[in-house]
């Protein structure tokens, strides 16, 4: 089969590789009908996430048709159309039983590696480095899905791939980010980043009762997409973002702030250049200007919710503001499985059509070019969907 492979920092290639096989009784093989490039894949592309190996198959947003199941999988069968959550969860550990699916105790074969970084290992993820399990990803014609009796979620034929594909990651990720804000009716929510997760955070905040959402983003087409959802927008390159947010909220600040940018933030402030110099010199792992601004701008007693991916050690995090303003910080890889029935209902009811975010539809062979287009935000690129067959 053909698969999108990481070939080194900033090198992506489509290679011919062996087909996946059932390795464990609870595995399934899925014939991938649609797969997307995620913003977090860009952190792999440029080497910000450690423990990648040349030849690793990328991709954690994919769906398709069940091709084969192992003897331990009884609830799905060949021919079923499923979306596959990006965290791999066993369903039987204490964490899965408590719906903390992305904290699954059992799915990471390289838990020892993640323990060195994080103390305890989170769930294994598809196509997201060896410390996260080293699982081959779904930007391929076929994918092996471990614990297939827990992850894959059947979707109705009445919905198109593009309407349900983002249940794998970005829709639940945006939704959990908004849920983590503990939104009260009429609240003001500020969202940093108008990429796909930011877009779903904006819409989810409204679904959960926010009165007002303010998106902070510099790319014009992303701001337009946010405005189409009813958000007001600010330019993230404007040095006066804090003052504007303060004025817009009558001197109080947003009730909650969502950082949907993550570890490779850009910004107009001196701290961005400071982070950039430090990360380039390998003295820090993450650039965090969006997170700093979110913490700074949040109202007293408010919540900062962080769906953006951070990987390591954050420098000059204004923790004093967290303590002195009594902020709550919530984060985590998304417990995707937890949200699927709720979010599918939203889609079926027509409350949201997730396909709004798609700007590019290409074949798998276009992956190297599209990674670059997406990274550089060229050609109005917000979300790329690839058709591997």
């Amino acid at each position: 089969m053909r698969a999108v492979c990481w070939q080194g920092t900033n090198r992506i290639g489509v290679e011919r590789v062996p087909d996946p096989a059932i390795l464990n009784p609870r595995d399934a093989i899925v014939r991938v009908t649609s797969t997307a490039i995620c913003g977090s894949d860009l952190h792999l592309l440029d080497g910000f996430i450690p423990t990648m190996r040349r030849g690793d198959i990328l991709g954690h947003e994919f769906m398709g048709i069940v091709e084969d199941v192992g003897p331990g999988v009884k609830n799905i069968q060949r021919g079923d159309r499923v979306i596959v959550p990006f965290p791999i969860s066993c369903g039987s550990c204490w964490f899965c039983e408590h719906e903390l699916y992305s904290c699954c105790d059992n799915s990471n074969p390289n838990a020892w590696m993640a323990e060195k970084f994080y103390g305890y290992s989170p769930a294994g993820l598809f196509g997201y480095s060896h410390m996260m399990g080293g699982y081959a990803g779904g930007q391929a014609q076929f994918a092996r899905v471990p614990f297939a009796d827990v992850g894959p979620f059947k979707v109705p034929e009445s919905l198109t791939d593009e309407q349900v594909l983002f249940l794998t990651d970005i829709f639940p990720t945006g939704y959990m980010a908004a849920e983590n804000c503990n939104i009260q009716a009429g609240d003001t929510v500020a969202v940093w980043g108008g990429g796909p997760v930011g877009q779903f955070s904006i819409r989810s905040a409204f679904l959960l009762g926010a009165g007002r959402v303010i998106a902070i983003e510099t790319v014009p087409e992303r701001r337009r997409m946010a405005e189409a959802a009813g958000a007001e927008t600010l330019d993230s390159m404007d040095p006066g973002v804090f003052e504007r947010l303060r004025d817009m909220t009558g001197g109080i600040g947003p009730d909650s702030c969502i950082d949907a940018v993550g570890m490779e933030a850009h910004g107009p402030h001196v701290d961005y250049y400071y982070d950039k110099a430090k990360t380039m010199a390998m003295l820090a792992t993450d650039r965090i200007s969006a997170l700093r601004q979110a913490i700074h701008a949040c109202r007293k007693g408010g919540t900062v919710s962080v769906p953006g991916v951070y990987g390591g050690f954050l420098d000059k995090l204004p923790f004093g503001a967290v303590v002195q303003k009594g902020l709550t910080i919530k984060s985590g890889q998304t417990h995707v499985h937890r949200y699927l029935p709720t979010l599918l209902r939203y889609i079926e009811n027509g409350d949201i059509d997730p396909s709004f975010v798609v700007t590019h539809r290409v074949s798998l062979d276009d992956a190297p070019r599209m990674y670059k287009t997406f990274r550089d935000k060229q050609d109005g690129c917000i979300k790329v969907v690839m058709k591997p067959h």
Binding site: M1, A3, C5, Q7, G8, T9, R11, G13, E15, V17, P18, D19, P20, A21, I22, L23, N24, P25, R26, I29, P50, T51, M52, R53, R54, G55, D56, I57, D68, G70, P71, G72, I88, C90, G91, S92, C93, W94, E97, D105, N106, N108, P109, N110, A111, W112, M113, G124, S129, H130, M131, G133, G134, Y135, A136, A140, F142, R144, P146, F147
Partner: protein
């Protein structure tokens, strides 16, 4: 007593440091043989009925060091919590023939009669180490302890404690191997790698995974693109063999 005597004789015969330590090691076994004093209950703290503190792994009473007379050789302790009923966890372990399914250094354990079992440890190039062990203590759903028979190639003892916690069944294991030195000793040492504790922790992780999920998660046998160059240095294989080779249950058809 016989084992101690043999070890001592063998150790003293060798005029090097390994032989010397074997001779010293043998002293504890000799002592036990001579006095007939059984440390087992001491070691396991059974009749003391002491309330165990939570999270304490290495209390004196469950320490196999007491059994083997010191901290020589390979000593490892680790704990894991398994989200399964205590009876199920206990039963699985009590069947020693299950141990090689998750303990990397074991090739096979065969139950013989009356609490005696035959243990075979893995070795490179067909070399293996074998010994007999017997259960020296067993309390249903609480603890199992075993030790090698006198005269065994390797002096070894182990104990495993089971406790109910709000997160599941906590399993605490103590393992000690006191290899005799020479080739056999080197082999046993190699089985546990540089960090025996980490090796045992990985064993317990496999134990937990097997019980909780019915399988041991793996990526061995999955496809990848070309592997040469550009491997991140932190992605090299661990010494404990946790990337154990595994064949596909079913080969993927060519597409």
């Amino acid at each position: 007593m016989v084992a101690g005597g043999l070890l001592a004789a063998w150790g003293l015969q060798r005029r090097d440091s390994i032989g010397g330590s074997a001779a010293v090691g043998a002293a504890a076994l000799l002592y036990r043989g001579a006095t007939g004093h059984c440390h087992v209950y001491d070691a396991l703290g059974v009749e003391h009925g002491r309330q165990r503190g939570t999270g304490v792994i290495a209390d004196r009473y469950s320490d196999t060091r007491a059994r083997l007379g010191g901290s020589r050789g390979i000593h490892a302790e680790a704990a894991v919590t398994i989200n399964k009923p205590i009876a199920e966890v206990f039963r699985f372990w009590r069947n020693f023939e299950n141990l090689p399914k998750f303990m990397e250094h074991l090739e096979q354990v065969a139950d013989r009669e009356e609490g005696i079992s035959h243990w075979v440890a893995k070795g490179p190039a067909g070399v293996s180490v074998e010994w007999d062990a017997r259960i020296i203590n067993e309390i249903d759903n609480k603890l199992i302890a075993w030790q090698s028979l006198e005269g065994a190639t390797v002096a070894t003892a182990g104990s495993v404690n089971f406790d109910e916690t709000e997160h599941g069944t906590r399993v605490r294991i103590h393992l000690q191997y006191d290899p005799p030195g020479g080739r056999v000793g080197a082999l046993v040492a190699r089985l546990f790698g540089e960090d025996p504790r980490q090796t045992v922790r990985e064993d317990l992780r496999r134990f937990k995974r097997l019980l909780e999920t019915g399988e041991i998660p793996t990526t061995e046998g999955q496809p990848s693109g070309g592997r040469s160059m550009a491997t991140h240095p932190s992605a090299k294989r661990p010494r404990d063999g946790s990337f154990a080779d595994q064949r596909p249950l079913r080969a993927g058809a060519a597409r």
